[in-house]
Symmetry: C2
């Protein structure tokens, strides 16, 4: 009974800690009037977009809820709506604080790096704690009400749905603005990043919030929910030898993860005098070690043996290894990024080819690490072990989200410093933090994808157990077809995301070119650009394009299930994971590597800023932008939503036979 | 007994027809001394490369043959070596004629389009007939000698191995040269395609032969072998109700395919007075219709019912549909290519993004068509039907190869006309044929990939039946790991191919830049470039980079089989097909669409040649080059080699348990 209470205590602690962190951020000073003007423009753009996005999603959620209620009962519909609302709530509050933390970070940076680090990190902590707190609270309450984890699956579907829309919409918004601003600003006009003369600069800064804060938060919310659910569900059906404890353990482990991350977060503050990267790494490592120790005690206490702990440890170890692999493939001082930077000397075609090649090759190692973890976890504790390993990896999501959201906040802070003309010293401080943010963002991205892949495998195992599909007839054509449909989904999906960004970036470039052409004195800084037009373009495009991918993700497994049967859906799931997982890594790593190759050149290598090599690298970065921030992360959510929807509908697919 | 004789008669007819076609080509006139000089340079470069490539492969084949002999017996080793030698022979003879047909096509073009069309097409016919003739002959003789189709699998592995090396090596060669010549020539110096001042131009023309003739021929040789073998093997194990006829039918159907293509080829000659595209299309359609009729009679005659014919018809229909889909996604007058061309107006980043997006979305339809064909074929005639459908699609490979090889021959002819300064009239004739060649090349590419995908599914079914793996335990971690290893292989593979091309193109660009910088008067046409240096760069790079992908393809299934067992290999196969098939389509379509978007602009749209839009489109084309001609087609061969190697070793994997 004590173990069961860990979940509500931890989730409420997380929400309280989020409130405390928000209070710490908001009591910070906001600086000059000019700074406040800029911050307000960003805040308004971001909040307006988020509200419009939620309105679009709400209609879709309402219709789906009614359909679900009729097909699967009122409780499922309730769980579904709760999942959607909790996810939206975490995103809303997290971003509302982030758009206030940015200017306070800039102001703090006028006094030094330590204060700025803490303001930005605390801003991110709000998102992190909201995500893990609401995820665990929602699951706990629904489980308490129903007594059956399968009744909670709707919560996961709701969360995935909002996660998908937020990722796709936010991703399109941010990258179209970013590419448009960069291509015209850096290449055609030759002005620096975040220059106030660039009409796309506010849209770009808004994008950081709606994409990299709200979108990312919703993404990790649904991964977190998925991991906890997968372990609970396998605890019920696939690992009956653990009894009821098998269902409670995942809740307890995640609770331990929350406590560990709160302590890790406090450690960051204690380390704020050291190098920013050291402080953040310290917090993440400490959280990981604490949750490992806690897992050991929990396993011993609840099961009287350590096999489940070893499974969790496999997952945690995999997380560390993937982090190291990510650093290798995306850091400026490692061969892959250097190769991309060097290939830029012969123009953008070779930049693109080298980046694509590096990205594709880089997909192998993280997948193999996850495979190794699966093998070990299965050895220790069977299919239950696999789900626990995925959850082990996910348990410190709180601090991962905090560190990840730190990135766009300092990015914004840096932009505000530039636009408000605060001078080189402040800019140097924010730039240094921004560069730390880029590194941590890459690590978090590798974490998020591997974790989503791992979690989806666990959910896939749930589906196979739930639909009694442990063995599948490979010569059955509906299985072959299911596999192929699953395999092509990630391609279609990425195609839709890239196209939406490409088309919107095209409009953005045309608009920014138009403003530079038609507004007299803009280039010389004597006139102000029309920021709002660019914000409107991104907003409209994101809202227009976010629905199609979501509809595909939900409709396809249902259609396949009712026409080709549950085996075909199982095949579809495995087909989609096999393709989406390496593709997501490819997209994330290639995109980040292009970005850092550009930064390497901007740092003065191979001709530096303004050289032809730099131009080629900017093209590479622009292609990579939607790779790493739109298509790649959306694939994470795609994988989860396919599996959760399939689990939810599995009983109906079976009845059809 | 009569049906059995069809195979030797047809294969010898094919070889005789190849000889006749070669004789027709070689008796053509070779034009001016300058034309002969250029042709000789191309011929020497191509033949030197091919000999070196075969020497590299020979060592690898010899070692593999000894290993195979020890592990699986002398007959398997013999079959393996025969497969490798026959593939190499088809490639060698086919290319030897192609590099002589080019200059004769140019010379014929001085007298009009009809003669030039026939010379180039007959040159291609030699390759086409060598491929299908030697494939069928080899299988027939080995089957005659052993009486067991499983003893013939070694032939398929040998063919796949040479196919893989030839595709990868040829693909790297041709695209590095093409990109290097284009990037410096078109963008930096501003001289037209095939300009004799460009130091990379001979390497580019050599590349067309070693990549698009020899490489393509070896690729289709192994697909052809794989399709026939798959149907024979399933005839033995999966469809015992058909008895011995089930094994003979595939041989007879392919024989009928050969006769149909010979007649189709003759029709092209009869139509040479019409538009070139009409003549070639007419020949392909006629072959398809003839083989359909023949299949109907064969099925009725051999089985007394038509169900197997319907299965073949599903495959043939799928081939036609894929052809139409290919045209939609790659033709200049259809929306996808237009969208890419238009996106070039805002620079190369949007060109790349739009092309990637289009390519990714385009992967869905061909895969779904193949899925539909599988479902139908299975409905009519079970797993045997699936293999027959794949073979039905493949049966007219002879004319497909001929039409495909037509492309690089007229491309060469066009280059020779430009370099020999034959004036605009001849150039217009060769350019018109070149443009026809590009369209047919795209159709053949769509055909080759879909066909390889289909064939690999048939081979996969053979593996599952052969290894008694019809049902697989999805919760077994070794299955999950096998699936993932299979899924990442195509990524790693494409990465290796793209990187090899990227790196070599980098060297090529540097060398061409160096020559323009250091050779006085080169740009003005007063000095001759050092063509040989560029030829050497491509040759060395191709030879250096072709082994690694081949080793991976052979080693991985064997390692997985002996460590994780036959189930894991089955999972690996399905994982690799699911990823490789859509990826190959994505690569082929995106690459061709970029190419045609560039051609659309060069045709005077959106600013025409020399505009910024054109520059962006050239970058898109350069990125697309290794997509469509190196990585994409190599994936076809990868899929087959994985399955044939696995089938060969399946008995040993099973013994291990």
């Amino acid at each position: 009974m004590t173990y069961e209470l860990l979940a509500p205590v931890a989730s409420i602690s997380a929400l309280l800690f989020a409130t405390y962190s928000a209070w710490r951020v908001l009591k910070g000073e906001t600086g000059t009037a000019r700074m406040n003007d800029i911050s307000q423009a960003i805040r308004e753009g971001a909040m307006t977009y988020l509200r419009k996005q939620y309105r679009t999603i709400a209609i879709f959620v309402a219709i789906s809820a009614i359909a679900l209620g009729l097909a699967l009962g009122a409780f499922t519909a309730l769980a579904f709506v709760t999942g959607a609302v909790f996810s939206a709530l975490a995103g809303y509050i997290g971003m509302a604080v982030a758009v206030r933390a940015n200017v306070r970070t800039t102001q703090a940076a006028r006094g030094g790096a330590g204060g700025a680090l803490m303001t930005a990190f605390q801003g991110g902590t709000v998102m992190g704690m909201m995500v893990v707190g609401l995820a665990l609270l929602g699951i706990y309450l629904l489980y308490l009400a129903s007594g059956d984890p399968f009744e909670v699956v709707g919560f996961g579907v709701g969360a995935s749905l909002v996660g998908l829309f937020a990722r796709v919409g936010g991703g399109i918004y941010t990258k179209a603005a970013d590419i448009g601003a960069d291509l015209v600003g850096k290449i055609e006009v030759g002005i620096p990043e975040d220059d106030p003369r660039n009409p796309g600069v506010i849209a770009d800064l808004v994008g950081d919030n709606v994409g990299d804060v709200a979108g990312m938060g919703a993404d990790l919310f649904e991964s977190n929910v998925g991991s906890i659910l997968a372990a609970m569900l396998i605890g019920v059906i696939g690992a009956t030898e653990y009894g009821r404890e098998g269902v409670i353990f995942p809740l307890a482990l995640q609770a331990a993860g929350i406590f560990s991350t709160i302590l890790g977060t406090l450690l960051v503050r204690a380390l704020k005098g050291t190098k920013p990267q050291t402080a953040l790494n310290g917090g993440m490592f400490a959280s990981g070690i604490l949750v490992t120790i806690a897992a050991c005690f929990l396993a011993q206490g609840m099961f009287g043996r350590l096999n489940v702990f070893y499974a969790a440890l496999s997952g945690i170890t995999a997380a560390v290894l993937v982090g190291l692999i990510t650093q290798y493939y995306t850091s400026s001082d490692k061969p892959p990024v250097r190769a991309i930077a060097e290939s830029s000397q012969t123009g953008s075609a070779t930049t693109i080819l080298t980046g694509l090649a590096m990205g594709m090759k880089s997909a192998a190692l993280p997948v193999l690490v996850i495979c190794g973890a699966i093998l070990l976890a299965h050895e220790f504790a069977g299919v239950y072990g696999v789900a626990i390993a995925a959850l082990g990896m996910q348990s410190i999501a709180g601090i991962i989200v905090a560190v990840d959201a730190f990135g766009p906040i300092v990015d914004n802070a840096s932009g505000i410093a530039e636009m408000a003309g605060l001078g080189p010293k402040v800019r140097r401080t924010t730039d240094a933090l921004d560069s730390v943010g880029n590194t941590t963002k890459a690590i978090c991205k590798g974490f998020a994808i591997s974790d989503a892949g791992f979690e989806t495998i666990a959910l896939f195992l749930v589906y196979t157990l739930h639909a009694d599909l442990e063995t599948v007839l490979l010569t059955d054509p509906s299985v072959v077809i299911g596999l192929f449909i699953g395999g092509i989904l990630p391609f279609v999906y990425c195609g839709l995301c890239l196209q939406a960004v490409g088309t919107t970036a095209f409009q953005m470039v045309e608009e920014i070119r138009r403003q530079f052409r038609e507004i007299p004195g803009l280039k010389e800084g004597r006139a102000r650009p029309d920021y709002a037009r660019c914000v409107d373009i991104s907003t409209a495009a994101a809202l227009r394009n976010l629905l199609a991918p979501g509809l595909i993700a939900i409709a396809i497994p249902i259609i396949v299930g009712f026409t080709l049967g549950p085996e075909a859906v199982g095949a579809l799931l495995i087909g989609s994971i096999i393709t989406a997982f390496p593709m997501a890594i490819f997209m994330a790593y290639a995109g980040t590597a292009w970005d850092n190759a550009k930064k390497l050149i901007e740092g003065g290598h191979l001709g530096g800023k303004g050289s032809l090599t730099h131009r080629a690298a900017v093209i590479g970065d622009s292609v990579g932008d939607p790779f790493k921030d739109t298509a790649g992360p959306s694939l994470d959510v795609l994988m989860t939503i396919l599996t959760t929807v399939s689990i939810l509908f599995a009983p109906l697919f079976l009845k059809r036979l």
